[in-house]
Symmetry: C2
Amino acid sequence: MAWFRNLIQLSSSTARQSSPSSSFLKLGLSAASPFTPFSPFTTHTTEPPTKYAGLPPTKPDEKPRIVVLGSGWAGCRLLKDIDTNIYDVVCVSPRNHMVFTPLLASTCVGTLEFRSVAEPIGRIQPAISREPNSYFFLSNCTAVDADKHVVHCQTVTDGVQTLDPWNFEIAYDKLVIAAGSQALTFGIKGVEEHAIFLREVHNAQDIRRKLLLNLMLSDVPGVTEEEKMRLLHCVVVGGGPTGVEFSGELSDFIMRDVHQRYAHVKDYIHVTLIEANEILSSFDDRLRRYATKQLVKSGVRLVRGIVKDVEPKKIILSDGTDVPYGLLVWSTGVGPSSFVQKMDFPKSPGGRIGVDQWLRIPTAQDVFAIGDCCGFLESTKNPVLPALAQVAERQGKYLAKRLNKIGESGRGHANAGKEIEDLGDPFVYKHLGSMATVGRYKALVDLRQSKAAKGVSMAGFVSWFIWRSAYLTRVISWRNRFYVAINWFTTFIFGRDISRI
Amino acid sequence: MAWFRNLIQLSSSTARQSSPSSSFLKLGLSAASPFTPFSPFTTHTTEPPTKYAGLPPTKPDEKPRIVVLGSGWAGCRLLKDIDTNIYDVVCVSPRNHMVFTPLLASTCVGTLEFRSVAEPIGRIQPAISREPNSYFFLSNCTAVDADKHVVHCQTVTDGVQTLDPWNFEIAYDKLVIAAGSQALTFGIKGVEEHAIFLREVHNAQDIRRKLLLNLMLSDVPGVTEEEKMRLLHCVVVGGGPTGVEFSGELSDFIMRDVHQRYAHVKDYIHVTLIEANEILSSFDDRLRRYATKQLVKSGVRLVRGIVKDVEPKKIILSDGTDVPYGLLVWSTGVGPSSFVQKMDFPKSPGGRIGVDQWLRIPTAQDVFAIGDCCGFLESTKNPVLPALAQVAERQGKYLAKRLNKIGESGRGHANAGKEIEDLGDPFVYKHLGSMATVGRYKALVDLRQSKAAKGVSMAGFVSWFIWRSAYLTRVISWRNRFYVAINWFTTFIFGRDISRI
């Protein structure tokens, strides 16, 4: 580190020089300057190489360490609620923020800004940036060694010039797998390459950039009518809440902003929503009818069809129909990720990590799974819960409470004995209802606990108001709550921003 | 377009079906569905191919057409002031927004959001999106044919899956070249590959992503002390206002946000500013001394040195010193772009497009140049003006006024005669002063007209307040003015956002 000590010397000497009485600071590198003894920077250092290192097991007199894999709804809720007086926490995830997924569709067209729906993990659990033994690691977990109580990780370096990715190990006392799911493509060729999913902020950024690019390109002389029609044909595959909300936002954007700001091409832009079954299948029939009517009214074309093949500029339906597109958004639900698939744990029906009613993995001491990546084992006789933010968050909350209790009773360390004694209540999921917007000031609110149950379900402006209010209070930090409100306000007053940055 | 008409038919029939009395909309594609006659989408269409088309010369009974190349300070000010009752305007630029460059440095560390400093051209001049014959084309100009009054352009498609770039021509009545400049690298090897400039929003995004990545990577087990030191060494080359402001923002970010949110690595992060001569050479000595003191106080290392070579992880100074870096920002001024260099027009000293005192290119009828890309011809006996936003904006304003006058007098069309009669006053530049921040609540304001002139110059908190107020009023739209104020407010209250999205 000789090079750096010299730099520091230089600057402290210049700082002294810059007293009010001195003349303008001379930064020259004369032969006698402190810069001269700079030793060349080499990669061969006398310090011990710490590559392939990691965090060793905690000692009995240290706080036990909880390792959380993932930074979605489940992992972040757990991180938020964990008592950091009892535990050190380590979060391992390829992204340093949580995405407020219900509002992600709004960011694609500029109703909301991208940052308004991203919450840094350091804000959700400040201990990871302040406590000496709590960390956030920008990494993927590559393997779990449940016998040795160790996870193997690899850094995400996202670029060549910084550092090559490297591997390290983290010993855990308790491990919480909250690694989420991945978008389902049903093995359809070309989806991964040509369609955009709507799960991460960078997906929304891609959609926005492509949409604005297509709007601009279709206005340039030299585009045929046919190409123009294709470029501005936005196809959404999947009629679940995400697909419907995105279609609604898009048609809003077209009606309000494209008509005003891209007047030359406004008659060419169209939205088609393709669904193999029925849209919003989890909502009641009356709400579905309402949603269908609203979408059709706002110009969204609803098409029942099964996608067979995706090519760069068109999709092919199972009946042979070609549907040319300029933007293709794919939102047909989620399934177990490849990480979950290759894990050597018992699985739930549908291939998720199997857990018991206390969210433990029965074959692995001190290992838990929450959120989309887990499902109840068949032996529990409970159904696998849907992959919803609501489920994931509730599981994170439940498990944090339980781990805090285990820690309080002094059994936070690895292999501290079976916890059968204080299992407490098992996790029971109570559905609070579903919400979805369907475009301009209209939403659905279904407060029934299941499709068969009785209860309140409504649609329209009041629902939209409830939808906005509910999400505004659910946004995690005050900062983002403030920004979401400001974004909505400015979109209402000034329209959406259309700079393509 | 048979495929599309069929889609429309389908949806209008479904819309009829969805009357309140009907049961849930059936979207099925039966054999008899309107979807069946879908003709396959082919690229061979019977419509005439319009590729390699363009905008033909205007007719005498049409509005004359002004073509503006570029969307920086000069071009946008001209666009804003042009009378669209007289002219149709066409803007050609590879980006659809103007960047409010003086605030760009603040976006790199999250003090301001990226969108707050980007102004869509459609907001600056709404005619381009509304008027039938005014356009914005997301394209680069490839050549100017002054004899034929035509510019050749190529679209920017930024991706493979949309469309291949294509060429087209635009005939102009008046052409305004406002194509800007490019960053100077002095032919130093490795600058283009490894350093980040600070001129566009995507540059600021790259800086932010890299800075946050390095902060996170340096915290992962397995990084040697030496690598940690390098990863968190931010080097800024160039001590002009941009380099100084960026260094100040960065040290602010370190003092306030890194210390709090990256406590594990806070002692490793350092900023070094390398300048071959003196920093802020356009400011007076007293202000320079003040800036130097402030920067050193806030932890910026000032080093006088000449960069010889840039390698992926270190720069080499001319005296052989190695300076390892994790982030390298290059800001050593600007020079003529390759587009300007290859243009067949007379040049000013320094190689810019040569103009007379009325900002005309003397050898080309109806062609003007403004902003960083132009300079007074030696024959005018005027000095080449500095590449400042202030100069560019004033030239845009001047030329818009002049072109409006020419248009009013009925000579807006191409070759409408020499305009010698109503030349009006030549363009005279009066410097209004310079401003720069030097970190936390401190700025410099130099209101002298030139380095030799007398006048007010001051530094400190009051200057900082003037700096903020001045820029806030200069931000073009109310929307962004509002956002800049909100961003400053939230940064003050909540700190900067650190999600890496």
